[in-house]
Each structure stands twice: as structure tokens, then as C-alpha cells.
Amino acid sequence: MKFAIWRILAAISLCSASSFAHEIGTTRVSVVFQQGASYEIEVVTDAAALADKLQAVSGQAPQSDKTLQVQLQNYDEVFRRRLTIAFDGIVVTPEIDYSVSGTATETSAPVATIRMSGAIPPGAHEFAWTYSWTFATYSLSVREPGGDNETTEWLEGGQASTPISLVSPRRPLSRTAIAGRYLALGFTHIVPYGLDHMLFVLGIFLLSRRLRQVLAQVSAFTVAHSITLALSIYGIVSVSPKVVEPLIAVSIAYVAIENIFMSELKPWRVALVFAFGLLHGMGFAGALKELGLPRSEFVTALVTFNMGVESGQLAVIGAAFLLVGWYCGRRPWYRRIVVVPASMMIACTAVYWTVQRLSF
């Protein structure tokens, strides 16, 4: 078949950047909002082509004896029929000024500049635009209020623009603000949202009341989860949550069960807690990825999130110490009444989670 497939393939590649639409014409529309109080819209388009269309729609005889500028002014009422400027869905009527520059020669064509302006209704949130005087694709550029950013949308004649927000875009957050935000996110990921991590930390705390033993475990855990959190965020390590989440539940169950049978810190316990820390770190990474990291302050966000997680864990341990450890820790019944039942409850919950996470 002579029909050349490569040409169609080429077309698809060359159009991927722009549009699935008609050819791009010469019409350009730009919108500027003045301090949220007024709007100015400028349409630049081929004057003769517009006048021809206005004349056809008006049904009147051609006004070829008049200049294009006068023709456009005379067709003002017709022009307004195929134009919509709306704020929050309410159509407004602009002041319109028509001017035409340039003359028709073999190499150039007169250009119409149509300026529309008016007041923005107080409290308006959104601007919408429809223009039906072109058959070609045209651009709508909007300068964001109070900003230097300009957004451009390519539209077909008659196509409604994407609603444009009049509310000033948020300024990029400062490093301090990002640090504070991710510190809080890390903390709340443990307290109150991370019940599984809280139970794991409680498991560590319950084994032994000796500060040195708690610290050894907490340090191993912290170092480990910091490593995998960073490695996962940078994409160096990638383990599916389907694997990580049930294993986190298993780790909680293990620590709790060991608490029931063991009362002293054994060296392997620290090693195990380190290994479990590696798992929890991957879990934290999954959560952090869901929250998203600002590209500009990637490291700040990563470090502060980790610090937030850490403070959350220390808060859990601190609270547990104040509630039970401080008063009951030295009592002979502490293990029997507190550690064993609490560990059993934690173990049961963790076993339940393990089954639940495996089945989903």
C-alpha cells in the first residue's frame, strides 16, 4: 500500500508536544488581572478574517467601503455574541475597544487588537473564557495575579478554557517552614497515626526498664530505619509494601513474644531490632513517598521527617515511662502484671495484623 504509515507515525510524534487539534492559527489572547479588582483581555487576530466572519453572522451587506476598524466597531454587538467572560460562572459584560493596524499587502495583513476590560466582581474566585471567532487553534495566556508566571492554554474556537483561579498562588515555602512541616508529618506518622510503630516501640520499652538497654535498642532501631528510609527514598532499595507491611507486623509480634519469655537484653535482640528497623524504615519511606517531597528541599524534608519519626518514638517511650515504668517498674509484680499481659496483647494484635496484611 502506497499509504505511508511512517508519515502518520511521524505525525503522532510531532504532535505529542502540543495538541490533538486543528492547525494553530494567528489568534492570541492574553489576560491580566489588576490587583484582583479589574481584568484586561487583549485579543490579537487577523482583522479581515474576523470582519468577514462578523459580516456573515450579522447577515448584513458587506461594509467594504469602511475601514476594517470601523467595521469591527460596527459589529460590536455581533462580536459579543460569541464571547464569554465569566467570574464564578457569572457572565460579565466588558468594555471593548477595537483597533486595527497595518495594511493589506501581498506580504502582510492588517491585525486587529481588541481590548476588553472591566471590574472583577468582589470575592470572585474563578475566571472562565470562551471565544468562538476562530476556526484554528489559539493560545490563551493568563498572567497570575500578583505573580510573574504566565500560563498558556491552547484552545479551539468555541472551547471553554480551564477555569483559572484568581486566588494568589502560595509562595514557595521557606526551608524552615518545610523543616517544621516534615518534622510534624514524621511525628504524626507515629503518634497518633502509626499504631503499629507505637506497639513496636512499646515492645522495646517493655523488655527492660534499664535505660541502657532501652537506649541500645532504640539506637539500633533508629540507625537502621534511617538507612532504609534514605535508601528507599533515593530509589536504591525498593521492596514492595506487600512484603514490607506484613513483615513489620511480624517484627512487632516477635518483639512482644520474646518479651514474654525473656527478661534480659541478649545481644541478638539488638541485632534483631536493627534488622526490624531496616523494615520499618522502608515502611516510613512508603508513607513519605505518599506525602511527597518538595524537590527544592529534598534533603531537608527527608532528614526532618526522620527526626519527626524519632521524636514520635521517644514520645511513646517517655509517655510509657511516665505512665507505668516510673511507678511500677521497680515493683516485683511489674513483669507479671504489666509486661507479660501488655506483651501478650501486643503480640495478639500483631499476629492479627500479619494475617490481615498478608490477605490484602
Binding site: 492547525e23 478574517a49 456573515a56 495583513a109
Partner: protein, 272 residues
């Protein structure tokens, strides 16, 4: 020979504009003096009301002029209108041709169905119905195949239209610059160089674009129009085929057009 019907459409740029747009070449003059610069404006629109399309090298497959001295590229400045600028020093009829690369477009089902109806693409409409696709959006790639006949000076001998080899091509089989209003203009339509029978061909005058003359090509891919009035004429036809596999589209369309001016009072070559 296909019968010629005169159809006047009452629709004037209706509230919902036609789904698909024609594309044609509008020279700054159809009958320039030799040596004068002529701007070739590409227009996209409907009912002979068009918007200028600036020169886009990404879209141009061929933009050429053909006359007795041969085939030459049409030059122009990228991003500007007119898309082409030419100066011809010898008298005669020059054929300008613009063939675009295919461009993809996605049309909602209702728009696409409407457009098939408007362009007389009945076979495709039936095919869509058989495939139960009438309610699905259509992914299409379209190619423009526009031609324009310009007469330079007062030629002693008038070479008529020429075959340029566009994918879809309308060819005037008599030289329109030797015709008077009311005379017959036979036009042939080819797709990939072969006659295309049964295709809807539409002729319209710039001054009265709503008074369209429509005819379907006969078995030899030919229609004959009796052009009632002087003025700038646009003849157009659309052809569509199922898009070849691997093109990421459902349909491939080809938009043929031919523009020229009918000037009964012209002092050029006497009408035959």
C-alpha cells in the same frame, strides 16, 4: 456523469460550528501581473470564512509551485502569514500545492458522526455502525491536500491544471482562466493517483459561500460543475479510510481543495 445539484444552506456559522474545517490556499491575487510578489495564505475554516495558518515547517510535507519551467519549492518565513511568498516572471498558469503531514485529532462521538454526515462520508458512517462504534470517540489523523491555480500575466497559451501527486487531489480538467460563468468545469478526484468514485465534491463562491454546489464523482472519479458566477471559487472533497494498523488512530482523512478565480471579462486566453 454525476448530476449537479444546487444546494443552498441556511446555516450561517451556526451556534455549533461544523465539526471539521476545510483548508485551502488563498493567494493575495489570483491574476497577478508577471514579476509581482504573491502571498500564499493558508486558511482553515468553513463556508469560505477562514483563519490564516502561519507557515509551520513541522506540518509541511510539500509546498510547491509547478509551471512550464518545472516544480519548485515555495519559500516563506516560518511562523508567519502568508505561509508562502512567490514571484513568477513568465506568463502562464502556475499550480501551487500544499500537502501536510498527518496531524492527529480526537473528536467526541457526536461531533465525529456529525462531521461524517456533513462531509458525505457515508461509507465510513456505515462502517462505524457495523463496528458498533457510533458512540465512541474517534481518533483520527488528517492530511491537507490543497491546490491553487494562479494566472500570471496574459498568457498566449494557457496550460490548465496539473497533477501534482498529492495524496488526495482535485484536478481541473479545463483551465478555469479560459472559462466564462455558466460554462462547465470538469474536475477529477484522485486518491493515491487513482480515480476516486462516489465522493462528495463541493464548490462554493467566495461571495456566496452558502450557495454550495454539490456532486458525487462518477465511476471515473469525475464531476462537472456549471459555475454560475464569476469570483473566487473553492472546490473541496474529503476522503476517509480506516487508519492502517500501528498508527494509533481509528481513521485517516484527506482534505482536498482547489481554489481559482473565474473572470469572464478577463482579457486572457479566449474561452474555448
Amino acid at each position: 456523469m454525476a448530476t449537479v445539484r444546487l444546494v443552498a444552506l441556511a446555516l450561517v456559522l451556526s451556534a455549533a460550528p461544523l465539526a471539521a474545517h476545510d483548508m485551502w490556499i488563498e493567494p493575495s491575487s489570483f491574476v497577478p501581473e508577471t514579476g509581482k510578489v504573491v502571498g500564499l495564505r493558508l486558511r482553515v475554516g468553513q463556508d469560505f470564512l477562514g483563519d490564516p495558518i502561519p507557515r509551520d515547517p513541522e506540518l509541511i510535507d510539500q509546498f510547491i509551485s509547478v509551471d512550464s519551467s518545472g516544480r519548485k519549492p515555495v519559500y516563506g518565513r516560518d511562523g508567519t502569514d502568508p505561509a508562502g511568498l512567490v514571484r513568477v516572471t513568465d506568463p502562464g498558469v502556475v499550480v501551487f500545492g500544499y500537502q501536510s503531514r498527518p496531524k492527529p485529532i480526537v473528536l467526541p462521538a457526536t461531533t465525529f458522526n456529525q462531521y461524517l454526515k456533513e462531509e458525505g462520508l457515508d461509507a465510513i458512517a456505515e462502517l462505524r455502525e457495523r463496528r458498533h462504534q457510533t458512540s465512541s470517540d474517534a481518533r483520527e489523523v488528517f492530511e491537507r491536500c490543497a491546490k491553487s491555480l494562479v494566472r500570471y500575466g496574459t498568457p498566449a497559451d494557457a496550460q490548465a491544471d496539473r497533477v501534482l501527486g498529492l495524496t488526495l487531489e482535485l484536478v481541473a480538467e479545463r483551465n478555469p482562466y479560459t472559462l466564462h460563468a455558466g460554462q462547465d468545469l470538469p474536475v477529477s478526484l484522485t486518491y493515491q493517483g487513482l480515480p476516486l468514485p462516489g465522493a462528495l465534491v463541493v464548490a462554493m463562491n467566495r461571495a456566496k459561500p452558502m450557495a454550495k454546489i454539490m456532486a458525487r464523482t462518477d465511476s471515473k472519479g469525475r464531476v462537472t460543475f456549471r459555475l454560475p458566477e464569476d469570483g473566487v471559487w473553492l472546490i473541496k472533497a474529503v476522503h476517509m479510510i480506516p487508519a492502517p494498523d500501528g498508527t494509533n488512530a481509528d481513521w485517516a482523512s484527506f482534505w482536498g481543495s482547489l481554489t481559482f478565480e473565474l473572470k469572464s471579462s478577463a482579457t486572457g486566453v479566449a474561452a474555448k
